[in-house]
Symmetry: C2
Subunit: 89 residues, 2 copies
């Protein structure tokens, strides 16, 4: 599946995402780390910890920023920033 190599960053401790990314990179050559809003800084932490402590020689292939529109429960919508980091071996 195309989405198989994506790790979404949420509110768990950063080490759970580090392990998810490292596991993914043991099976594939590339992983995409996706994040939105306040989780963005945790996405950068995840990429940096994997690069510096787990898998050396890893390249930051691409970093993209963007804006997504999210619907609130009351029906109004808000814009939220997103960050995607692609790491490759």
């Amino acid at each position: 599946m195309a989405e198989d190599n994506v790790v979404y960053i949420g509110n768990k401790p950063v080490m759970s995402y580090v392990l998810a990314v490292a596991t993914q990179l043991s099976k594939a050559n590339e992983v995409i780390i996706k994040s939105r809003g306040r989780a963005i800084s945790r996405a950068v932490d995840t990429a940096e910890i994997v690069r510096n402590k787990f898998i050396s020689g890893l390249k930051v292939k691409e970093i993209q920023i963007g804006t997504e529109t999210v619907k609130r429960e009351d029906g109004t919508s808000m814009n939220i920033s997103s960050l995607e980091i692609t790491l490759s071996k």
Copy 2:
């Protein structure tokens, strides 16, 4: 000065950084938005708001992630993630 076109993101409301970046871009063709730790998501918000609401046609020239070592008051050191976004006209 070389550092003139840098905006450092801190704990102020995002709109103060949006205005700093927009002002900078009225005088120069390029601005570098620098951030560390939890301010990283605010840096992405700043870049996206400037691009989408203030100055259209702005390009994301480069995005870099990194790790900086910071000394705590007790003399120990910690690693902190950093994000730099370069916007250009």
